[in-house]
Symmetry: C2
Subunit: 655 residues, 2 copies
């Protein structure tokens, strides 16, 4: 603690105006954001116990984060810094955004350190930081690509340089680390680089654009961390875009989702990760400024996302070309691009929209993305990652959908930082009380905004079953509202407080439970996790006349490997003879880390489609003809964790 106070003292000397202990800031620090209805709680305030997320978080800390540092070293990402300080003589390696990979890794490690003291990890982070800091130029410029013969190109390759993108990730990593243990050397380095940029670029100076949005949200968080308003204004500069002066082409403005006023956007288009990060940054900006034009645009884009352009997994980005959004309803399953980073971007954006509104629809999308399109991105053993998260695979043995490394390795550390920061997403506070967003065994140890210390303890087998008990323990009896999220998918939810049922529970809302809470009060929730059959809008061509199976927050999928006795996965149909589903639900502890497996009657259509002609006369009256088969479904997130096999989310059904 003494060390920390010393560090804080030094921070004050550097004009860090943020009064609070940095360790009390959450994933976002909206404590002073005038237009935030919700405020994050510190990551360390929530302890996730054994349950659904504990296994994922365990491999993240024990396998994924350590092996990723080894891989980053192996591929020269840190050597790219060392060569600038003469510590390593080697050519620069990798694409121009590799710096961001180590910054994101540091952020992931920092979130771990926010939750627990891991000296070994702290040492690794310290070493990485030293290599980075040593490479910073006296001006503040810090980038391993635009050096040597490329130095003259700095800030000229305005549609590809990733200079501000790398800096944004540096800042995010530095802020997470500062919030972990007050360590601010990396933060100071980031501030120095930002100050250099502000000295040279801006509306009345040289023009600059974020070719890959990221700097915007990082600058708002830097403003929150330092209370230096110039950083917020600089974020606004990027959000407004200086593309005219930079002569950006219309296609660049689409692809980059940057360079023109964010408030002039009317639809999601272009590179999906860029768009999601831009929306996140714009929402952060709104939280601080309340600019109505921003809100109008954000609402419009969110409608475009959720009504026309989002996969059922919460994944986004339909096209490999340009890693881009498609046209409305263009959501191909097999060809889905659905980059892990884009699903994370969707998750990040909805977290900010939720903070602005406390509206449960944003939490529903956040949960959808988290449990499915994000969660699928890391293998169960924590060593393989999806770049793409398609909703259908043909099962080509050569398909490698999960890999330990990508030359563009943005997704793995992005998944790591998301899992490491996950405790920070379970709760928020508001002036009225506490919001409960997510469910799993965990404890909150924090305080109401009034200052009253508060503990909450969740006990549950969620998402495998729908029962959740929340024990409430304020330090002293206090009147406040406990806002309990009722997921949109839970058609019939039972809620009781100390055994007394609560009426009028509506799906897709936060149920406000206001009373004088005292230690030992208990809330019982019973969500309806009965398997559901979900249809897509008929304009979604690839999912037409098909059905997806969901259970609680989980989207399910069929893998061919599970369909014993059947031929091709693509000849199976879900049999809905009575019009009602007839699922068998079994918790299988030894399968895929423990899952509820679903089984449902089906039919294997004959003759097999592979032997049938491409075009043939329609047999409209004919029901699928074939052998009865029990279809086996697993949660989508666990797909491709065994041998290569065909997979599908959207299943044909009959009759």
């Amino acid at each position: 603690m003494r060390n920390l106070l010393l560090l804080l003292g030094a921070a004050a000397a550097l004009n860090y105006a943020a009064a609070a202990d940095p360790r009390e800031a959450g994933v976002l620090d909206q404590c002073q954001a005038p237009f935030a209805k919700l405020r994050s709680v510190p990551v360390r305030a929530v302890t996730i116990r054994d349950g659904f997320w504990s296994a994922r978080r365990k491999v993240n800390v024990e396998r994924s984060i350590p092996t990723m540092l080894e891989l980053l070293e192996e591929h020269g990402v840190l050597d790219n810094f060392r060569r600038l300080t003469g510590r390593k003589a080697a050519p620069r390696r990798g694409p121009l955004y590799t710096d961001s990979d180590i910054y994101k890794w540091i952020e992931a490690a920092a979130f771990v350190l926010q939750s627990e003291d891991r000296p070994d990890l702290r040492v690794k982070v310290d070493r990485a930081i030293e290599e980075i800091l040593a490479a910073q130029e006296p001006s503040g410029y810090l980038n391993t690509y635009y050096v040597d013969e490329r130095k003259a190109l700095r800030f000229t390759e305005v549609t590809r340089s990733h200079e501000t993108y790398n800096l944004g990730h540096l800042l995010q990593g530095a802020i997470a680390l500062y919030r972990a243990n007050g360590e601010r050397r990396l933060l100071d380095a980031g501030i120095k680089f930002v100050n250099y940029l502000m000295d040279n670029f801006g509306r009345t100076k040289r023009p600059l654009s974020s070719d890959h949005p990221e700097i915007e949200l990082a600058l708002v968080e830097l403003y929150r961390t330092t209370r230096d308003r110039r950083y917020l204004d600089f974020a606004a500069y990027f959000l407004e875009g200086d593309g005219e002066r930079l002569k950006l082409a219309p296609r660049d403005l689409v692809y980059m989702f940057s360079g023109k006023p964010f408030t002039a956007r009317t639809k999601l288009e272009g590179h999906a990760v860029r768009a999601m990060y831009a929306c996140s940054g714009a929402t952060d900006y709104f939280l601080e400024t309340g600019d109505a034009a921003y809100w109008k645009t954000l609402e419009r884009l969110w409608e475009d996302l959720t009504r026309r352009k989002m996969y059922i997994t919460g994944g986004v980005g339909s096209r490999a070309v340009g890693e881009a959004f498609g046209e409305p309803y263009e959501l191909p399953n097999q060809l889905a691009y659905t980059e892990s980073c884009a699903a994370i971007g969707n998750f990040m954006w909805n977290w900010r929209m939720l903070a602005a509104t406390a509206d449960a629809r944003f939490a529903d999308v956040l949960e959808r993305a988290l449990y499915n399109g994000v969660n699928s991105g890391m293998s169960l053993d924590g060593t393989l990652y999806c770049y793409r998260n398609p909703l259908e695979l043909v099962g080509n043995p050569d398909d490698k959908i999960r890999n330990p490394w990508y030359s563009t390795t943005c997704c793995p550390p992005n998944l790591q930082r998301t899992l490491a920061s996950l405790p920070g997403y379970f709760y928020s506070t508001s002036a009225e009380g506490v919001y409960v967003h997510l469910y799993d065994n965990n404890e909150l140890d924090w305080r109401l905004e009034s200052g009253t210390p508060l503990r909450l303890r969740q006990t549950t087998r969620y998402p495998w079953d729908g029962n959740v008990t929340i024990e409430v323990q304020p330090a002293s009896p206090a009147e406040f509202t406990l806002f309990v999220r009722i997921p949109e998918w839970s058609a019939r939810t039972k809620v009781a407080v100390n055994g007394a049922p609560v009426a009028a529970v509506k799906p897709g809302t936060y149920l406000p439970l206001r009373r004088q809470w005292k230690a030992g009060d208990t809330i019982s929730l019973s969500f309806d996790v009965a398997p559901r059959l979900t249809a897509a809008n008929p304009r979604v061509r690839d999912s037409f006349a098909r059905v997806a199976v969901e259970r609680g927050p989980l989207v399910y999928a069929m893998e061919e490997i599970d369909q014993k006795g059947a031929g091709s996965l693509f000849d199976l149909r879900l049999e809905l003879a009575g019009g009602r589903p007839r699922f068998r639900e079994t918790y299988v502890p030894e399968k895929l880390g423990g899952i509820v497996e679903l089984r449902h009657p089906g039919v294997e259509v004959v003759p097999p489609s592979a032997t049938r002609p491409l075009y043939s006369p329609l047999q409209p009256a004919a029901r699928p003809h074939g052998a009865p088969r029990e279809l086996v479904l697993i949660p989508y997130y666990a797909f491709a964790n065994r041998e290569p096999t065909a997979m599908m989310v959207w299943i044909p059904y009959g009759p």
Copy 2:
């Protein structure tokens, strides 16, 4: 005739060993091909009368071909030659394959000249040839791109140069012209260039590859024209591929469909036009050599095409990226790339497969491509062209699917040469008699292979109705077989000879009518053109649970503009309550140049899909709910000939 004989005399002096009058050669000259079962008849031997194709051919000659020459001039395609001879001082314009555009235009004009003497057109062709010939270098090299500062790059840009592609089109144009009127200056220029290549490149010389297959089929036709076997061997060199010596990357071998042995191919992949041209060239090579390894590969690729990778329109190429084939069953409708040139390539390939086998399945595909995916490529007025021929359009007013010009303007002259040469595809001869492939009002004036002159006259309203009368007029009574094609789509066909019914008529075959034919004999055919409902293999994701409507050889489509009183096209369903279609068929002479319009009961589903959520609980038992609507369908080829409007081929149906 005297002129022609003089020309032929000169040709003989240049070692043209082909004995026959070049004007007696058809689209292909398989007269001496040992492995051809069928032989083409000259284009000029068939006169197409007023009917389905006459209007298309009329705009082709009167609007399309003349305006295209103007556009080629406007865009500098001929100036690219003139600048090399000092006749024009201007920078070179257009991509590196513009030479092929004028060669293809010459080929189109030459086919017109094979049918009729058009002095104005002949003058234009002559002028173009002069510009081209003047630009040929003494060595024989002729190319407007690899000149000046790019001269050093000749034959080095092995994955993009199009040098052999341009030459292939030069040869095809030159041969068509030679067959029109014995004009052989362009042919001599082509031969000179080919000889230059053979002097410098080959298995024991410098390596060369066809980065865009085309030279292969042109060289075989050059062999057929000159009987110089070195050209056939040189074609084999390209078909075998010299990619190892050229160090072509695996992705180049896929994309180019060239550079490795054709006989090592196991599937269609890469650039669709390249693949179709390669298959055409390989079939030509088989026709001359009977190489069994080629046939095995051709059969395998044809199965891959027709079982997994061909649109119902005969279009091919699913992906915009790389203008490429997709995975098996990857046949998206809205995103279909289906370049006009690829459908033409499919048509060309099947013509060659048909020549090798006399198997009607190849004629079925040829007819499918011709009437639909090729025919759609040119607007009804002959001035606008499709590059892509998608099977669905959302009806964005900014969509310009038909355009007068493309910077890569390969498709327009390709369509022109196809329509101009069309008479040459109606009949073939064999040792046993005559094959009738296509139906329309027309007259054949040719001879049996025995030498007996033979006239045939077809009278029909095909494809609008299914009745065809063929009058047979041998110069003297002769026993031979008239092979009449029974399309695969005609479930019940009636055939009579001189009024006497013929039994055992099978769809998808050539019906052999062998007898002593005498002048005045008449064959009556009655094909079943009742509208048909066609289903796609269920693995075709985009067409799952949808139906296509076909009538005779025509695929039909719905355009939103025709659906009076309805909202979005995408809310319409075909109503098949009784399981049987109930079409109303009306010939509407004033609509779209005269079409049989189809009407069928349907439903407009409410609420409109645009207002519905992206995902919602399945209502499995519910029938589509909405207002009855009569759906209006037009032939696919006529789509987008009015204002921009939504269009679909694959229609949802209920119940």
